[in-house]
Every structure is written in structure tokens, then in C-alpha cells.
């Protein structure tokens, strides 16, 4: 076979040399497939259909955002930036974007820090009501935010925090924390405690050992929790609508809703606002998707 190969390739090598040569790799016709692997079309066809269903609404949004008002074209040409200019400049989306970014980033930081502390306590300490506390965290997920609206409104009003982005950040953080703590505690349990003990033996304090040994290993979990907190607070509408009663404090989701009137809607502006709202989330997911998948799958199975 080797000789035949050599001849075929026209190498002109002597037979002995050809015999001494290491056996060549088998000829590959495309990618080899094991018998239990399904044909490619069975993978790509459903994925393709799913992608069409997922992406068509986004295409529709992009189309409405960039085509001129009154156009019925199904392709984004001729293209116009009038809708983006309108929402960004006339409808205060520049300000809403900035406010949403402040809320999103602060919620991310607050949620991650508190969840880290809470998760560490749950993973490393035993205390009497630990199971009850875990149960309470889980149960808190069943309470819709709308149910807490009036009590929260009262609390923030008495703290003189109505009309402050701080009220939204605190409310978002509080509602993000239960799931985040549960996830982070799962990650921390996954890190052998002996690593920390070794650091203590070497003279580290508990905090130093945590920072130097445990924290670097939690990166996927922190990214998962942080991104989840950011995206949720970025998209959340209710708290911003209820706690903020000044136009210059509003966030993107509230701004988007003001583009829908009682009897009329500017679809071009609404689509342009939708694109602006989607961009940060898409960027976040594009950069962290690898960590996000690792993070959620790892945290999900550890209890």
C-alpha cells in the first residue's frame, strides 16, 4: 500500500526505503464519521430552523430600524440613520443608555460581591438554619417583583431614595441575590477546602487565602453571575418605572415603552431603540459565552 502510495504520489523512492518508512496516515475522504454519529444534516437542519426562528425577529427589528419611514422593502436598502438619530437625540436615549449602564454595572458589582460573601458562608460554614436559609433563598424566587412593589416603594420613599438610581440598583440587587448566592456557593464547594487549608498553613489569613487561592478558580462562576445580574437589570422595566419619576433618571426599558403611544406607534423609532437596547447585551454575551456556559453547567450540578 505504501509503495502504491509512493508511486501514486510520484515520490520515486526505492522499495526498501519505502518499506522502512513509517506507515503513512490512512487516506481521508473528508471528515471521518463513526457509525453512531448521526448524519450532518440531522444536526444542521434543526439548528438552521431554530436559527431562522431566532434571527428573523432580530432581522425584522434591524430592518425597521434602518429603512426609511413608509418603506416596505424587505432588505435594508436604502439605509437611513434617521430613526437612530431620533431616539438617541430627541427621545433622550443617550441619557437612558447612560442610566441603564450605571444601573447594570452597579447591580453587577453589588450582586457579585454580596453573592460571593453569602456563597462562601453557605459553602464553608455550618450553622443551624443553613438548610432553612437555602430553602428560603429558593422560595424567594417564586415571589414576583410586582408583589413587593408597594412595600419597596414605601421603604425607598422613607429612605428618601425615590427618584434615585440607587433605589433601582438596590431592588435589582436584592432580587438577583438568591439565585446568585446559590450558584456561587456551588462553585465554592467545588474548590477543595484543602487548598485553602494549605494557604492557611503557609501563613495566609482566611481572607488572603480566599483571595489568592479560591477567587481565581471562581472566574467562570463570577462571570456567569455577573453577566446574569447585568443583563437582568439592563432589561428590567418595573422597578425603574415605579421608583423613578424624573425623565432624566429613566432607563432604556422605560424609554422603549414610551415609544408606544395610546393609539400610535413609531415602529422605526421603536426598532432603533430596540437595537440600541440589544447591543450591550449582545456584546456581553459575545465576550463571555465560553465562561457563561462553563459557569452555569459547573454551578448547576454542585449542591
Amino acid at each position: 500500500m505504501t509503495a502504491a502510495l509512493a508511486t501514486h504520489r510520484g515520490d520515486g523512492l526505492p522499495g526498501a526505503l519505502a518499506h522502512d518508512a513509517p506507515p503513512p496516515a490512512p487516506v481521508r475522504r473528508g471528515r471521518e464519521r463513526s457509525f453512531d454519529e448521526p448524519p450532518r444534516w440531522q444536526i444542521y437542519l434543526p439548528l438552521g430552523i431554530y436559527l431562522v426562528f431566532t434571527l428573523v425577529p432580530f432581522y425584522w427589528m434591524f430592518l425597521f430600524a434602518v429603512r426609511p419611514a413608509g418603506s416596505t422593502s424587505l432588505v435594508p436598502w436604502p439605509m437611513t440613520g434617521e430613526h437612530f438619530s431620533k431616539v438617541w437625540n430627541e427621545r433622550s436615549f443617550a441619557l437612558f443608555f447612560q442610566n441603564s449602564m450605571i444601573v447594570g454595572v452597579c447591580t453587577l458589582l453589588a450582586t457579585t460581591l454580596v453573592a460571593l460573601a453569602g456563597g462562601y458562608a453557605l459553602a464553608r460554614f455550618d450553622f443551624k438554619i443553613k438548610n432553612l436559609f437555602m430553602l428560603a433563598l429558593l422560595c424567594s424566587q417564586f415571589i414576583p417583583g410586582a408583589l413587593m412593589l408597594v412595600p419597596l416603594f414605601e421603604i425607598f420613599k422613607n429612605l428618601q431614595m425615590i427618584n434615585s438610581l440607587g433605589s433601582v440598583i438596590i431592588a435589582e440587587t436584592v432580587f438577583q441575590l438568591p439565585l446568585s448566592i446559590i450558584l456561587i456557593s456551588g462553585f465554592i464547594k467545588n474548590v477543595p477546602v484543602t487548598l485553602e487549608e494549605a494557604a492557611w498553613v503557609d501563613g495566609c489569613s482566611r481572607f488572603h487565602a480566599f483571595r489568592a487561592v479560591v477567587l481565581p478558580l471562581l472566574r467562570p462562576g463570577l462571570i456567569a453571575v455577573g453577566s446574569f445580574a447585568f443583563v437582568h437589570s439592563w432589561n428590567h422595566f418595573l422597578f425603574a418605572l415605579m421608583f423613578l419619576s424624573e425623565q432624566d433618571k429613566q432607563t432604556i426599558p422605560v424609554g422603549l415603552n414610551t415609544l408606544i403611544g395610546a393609539d400610535s406607534v413609531d415602529l422605526g423609532a421603536l426598532a432603533a431603540g430596540g437595537v440600541i437596547a440589544a447591543v450591550p447585551v449582545v456584546i456581553v454575551f459575545a465576550f463571555i459565552q465560553k465562561w457563561l456556559i462553563t459557569g452555569f453547567s459547573a454551578g448547576a450540578v454542585k449542591g
Binding site: V150, I155, E246, Q247, N257, T258, G261, D263, S264, L267
Partner: protein
């Protein structure tokens, strides 16, 4: 590894629990309506919540600028509230506090706010102001009815909308069809303009959010019944209304797109503006959208079709207005703003921008009205005696629940053939009869 609780840990836990309890306890404070407020100095800052924030922001900004130029001692803080969430925003503020001085209030949720004692009666203020005798009487009556407190009025009407039948003049002309000004012509056009295989339909029906009022409108419009109540019972499930609704909903999928079952007004207007659908039943508010999408030569808007009896019957449309909140600490300044916003110039400016019918009688005679054909026709039909109005019971505190969350899914079932028109109207009528009885038991009516 196990760690016992430390003293510091217990302290932190105690402080945390105490803080939570203290914060929660604050939830037992005042009712948020803020008591009776005060007349105030007539100077300083007042807050105004726009109940249709966004689409009307530009015109309100202009009116506020004019007001502040005329009243340099008063500053108006403008807060746009998305229309879909305005009622929940008001409800939260009523329960938790933080109501504005002035707010946009539609008749659809006026009674709910009046029953929570959030609004100040404004009848006496109107009498003593420049607005006395300059508000369209029908709108004043509508606002009084919606408030549900007899002759007292709880908001100053600013505008009314009206149902319109929008139709594509280019498609009608090509098909050789007449203007659909009677129900018979409407059904004929819906049928002739439909070519489902080529994605062409004669009509688009509202099957999603907000579907109940148009359905009731179509039923009364065809049946010719002009009163919503016959004693203490509604005429809604009268056999004539049942037959009319059956005929109307039979259009679904026959001369309308199948996706109409989920149509709220945004989808309905969008597909009419961008497609090849012959007719759309929506109010005057979407005029600017049609104009932008189709240009002025391809469509027209007319009042609802005339029934077989020769009379145009339509249901009452919500009237928009401005409410003065009881909790305001500066009612004098707040009232000045309301008076200014409802005055001739401001009211005309606002309604021209919205394509609605002004509540100010002087504004209602301005030239822009006759220049905008659909608005002019609507205004004419409401004032020349050719139209009978069926007054919907907006005054019932349960009206919104009954006409939205409770029965919109039922209307979808009706479109899909899962319930009959009779069963649908019987259910709706039963709920309205019960709500009316409860309302009367409380000493109203």
C-alpha cells in the same frame, strides 16, 4: 471544615434582622394619597405626569415652555409615563405615596382613581375660571359619568378620540368599490378585497389586547341598539347584538389574516400600514402613522358605518383629561397649569398634534380641524345629530378588569370557534350586571 458562629457574626445577624424589620415596618405608614394637600403659594415647582408619555412629549414640552414664560414663578416638572403602565404607576403612587400635582387621566381609569380618593373635585374651580362654558358639554358629561360621583367632575376634559374606519382608497378604486359607509358595503368590500392565496385581505380584526371595545362597537353599530342598560341589565347580550357579533367575527380567517387573533393595536396598525389590507377599524389616533406610511392619497378615514336602520351607532370613546391631585401641596399653581393647558391655544395645539377632537369649544372651531378630513368627519358626526352614542360603563371600577384581562382571552376563543358569540356575550353581560349591582349597592347611581 466547620466553623461555629462567632460573636461578631451573631451581632451582624442581629443588626441585619433589625434593619430588615425596621425597613419593613415603614411599609405600614401613610396611605400615600397624601391627605388633603394645600393650596400653596401659587409659586414654585409642580410635577406633571403625562399619561401618554413619549408620543406627546414634544407638544407638552412646548406647552410647558409657553406656560412657564407666562408664569415665571412656576416651574413644571414633566414626567412622561408609558400609556400601557400609567394605571399601575398611579396605583402604586396612591398606595405608596409620591403622586404628582397634575396628571393626565383618561375616563377608562378615572373611577378607579376617584374611588381611591386620589383626585380633587374640580367643578367649582372650573366655574370660577376662564374655562367656564368653554368645554364641550358632551365631554364634560362623559367625564362626570366616568367619575361615578353624580354631578361632581374629577378631571378637566382636554380631548376625545373617536372610532374610525380607515380604508385604502387605492385598493377600493382598483376593485370598483364604494366608500364603506354602511355595514353592507363594509362586508362586501371585505369579501371582494380578499385574495388569501396572494396574502391580500379585506379587513384586519383586533383579536389581542384591547379587542373588547371594538367588538362591542361592531355589535351595537350593526344592531342599532342605542342604550347599554335596560334597567339594571345590560343590552349587550340582546339577540340582535349576538347576531351582529357572530357576523363580524365570522370575518376572521375568511377575510382577515389568521394572525389577527393576537392583534393588539400596534400589530394591527403596522400590518395595515405596510401591507395590502383593505380596511382597519381603529381610532383617529393612528392617522399620523397612516400618513407617514402610505402618504395622503392612498387612504381615507370615515366614522363607523351606518346600520340597516339608517342610523350610525357607536360606543363612547374614552375622554382624556387633566386631574388635580388631592395630595398636591401647591394646588393653586397646579390649577393654573391645568387652566392654561385646557385653554384655547394650548388645547388646539395639543389636539392638532394628536389628531384628536379638542374639548375646548374655541379650539374645536379652529381651521386645522376642517383641514384634517378624518378628524373633521368625526367631529361632524358627533355634533350634527347623525350618530347615537352608546355610553359604555367606564364608571364601574371593575370595567377595566372585565373589558381586558377577564374577557380578552374569551374573545380569542370566540375567534377560534371555541365558544359561541352568545356564550361570550352572556358571560360578559353577566359580569357587567354583577359589577353594576355592586356599584349601586355602594350608593352610586
Amino acid at each position: 471544615m466547620k466553623n461555629s458562629k462567632t460573636y461578631r457574626g451573631r451581632t451582624v445577624a442581629t443588626v441585619s434582622v433589625a434593619a430588615v424589620l425596621a425597613l419593613t415596618a415603614t411599609a405600614c405608614g401613610d396611605d400615600g394619597s397624601g391627605g388633603s394637600g394645600t393650596e400653596g403659594s401659587g409659586k414654585g415647582e409642580i410635577t406633571f405626569w403625562d399619561n401618554n408619555g413619549g408620543p406627546r412629549t414634544a407638544v407638552w414640552t412646548e406647552i410647558i415652555k409657553d406656560f412657564e414664560a407666562k408664569n415665571p414663578d412656576i416651574k413644571v416638572k414633566y414626567v412622561p409615563i408609558p400609556i400601557a403602565d400609567v394605571q399601575s404607576k398611579y396605583d402604586t403612587a396612591i398606595a405608596g405615596g409620591g403622586l404628582p400635582d397634575v396628571g393626565g387621566v383618561g375616563t377608562a381609569y378615572l373611577s378607579n382613581m376617584v374611588s381611591q380618593e386620589a383626585l380633587e373635585p374640580v367643578g367649582d374651580r372650573i366655574k370660577d375660571s376662564a374655562l367656564n362654558g368653554k368645554l364641550v358639554e358632551a365631554m364634560v358629561e362623559s367625564v362626570k359619568d366616568a367619575g361615578g360621583r353624580g354631578e361632581e367632575i374629577y378631571s378637566v376634559p382636554t380631548s376625545a378620540n373617536n372610532g374610525a374606519l380607515w380604508y385604502r382608497t387605492d385598493l377600493f378604486e382598483a376593485a370598483g368599490l364604494d366608500t364603506p359607509d354602511t355595514w353592507a358595503k363594509f362586508y362586501e368590500a371585505a369579501d371582494k378585497l380578499t385574495d388569501a392565496d396572494n396574502n391580500k385581505f379585506g379587513f384586519t380584526i383586533r383579536g389581542g389586547a384591547g379587542s373588547i371595545a371594538p367588538a362591542i362597537d361592531a355589535a351595537y353599530g350593526q344592531s342599532g341598539i342605542t342604550d347599554f342598560w335596560d334597567g339594571d341589565r345590560t343590552t349587550l347580550n340582546d339577540p340582535k347584538n349576538v347576531a351582529a357579533l357572530e357576523k363580524y367575527t365570522a370575518l376572521f380567517k375568511k377575510t382577515t389574516p389568521a394572525a389577527d387573533v393576537n392583534n393588539d393595536f400596534t400589530k394591527m396598525v403596522a400590518q395595515w400600514d405596510t401591507g395590502t389590507i383593505g380596511m382597519l377599524s381603529h381610532n383617529l389616533g393612528s392617522y399620523q402613522d397612516h400618513l407617514k406610511a402610505l402618504g395622503k392619497d392612498k387612504f381615507a378615514g370615515i366614522p363607523n358605518p351606518i346600520g340597516d336602520g339608517g342610523t350610525r351607532v357607536q360606543v363612547s370613546n374614552p375622554v382624556d383629561g387633566l386631574g388635580l391631585f388631592k395630595s398636591s401641596e401647591n394646588k393653586t399653581a397646579a390649577w393654573k397649569f391645568i387652566e392654561f393647558a385646557a385653554s384655547h391655544a394650548s388645547n388646539s395645539k395639543w389636539n392638532e398634534s394628536a389628531g384628536a377632537i379638542p374639548a375646548n369649544t374655541e379650539a374645536a372651531r379652529d381651521p386645522w380641524i376642517s383641514a384634517t378630513e378624518p378628524t373633521a368627519l368625526a367631529a361632524k358626526s358627533l355634533t350634527d345629530g347623525s350618530t347615537k352614542i352608546v355610553e359604555l360603563p367606564y364608571y364601574l371600577p371593575d370595567w377595566n378588569n372585565i373589558s381586558k384581562a377577564d374577557n380578552e382571552p374569551e374573545f380569542q376563543k370566540l375567534l377560534l370557534g371555541k365558544v359561541t358569540a352568545k356564550a361570550f356575550l352572556d358571560k360578559l353581560a353577566g359580569e357587567l350586571n354583577a359589577a353594576q349591582a355592586e356599584w349601586k349597592e355602594r350608593g352610586n347611581g
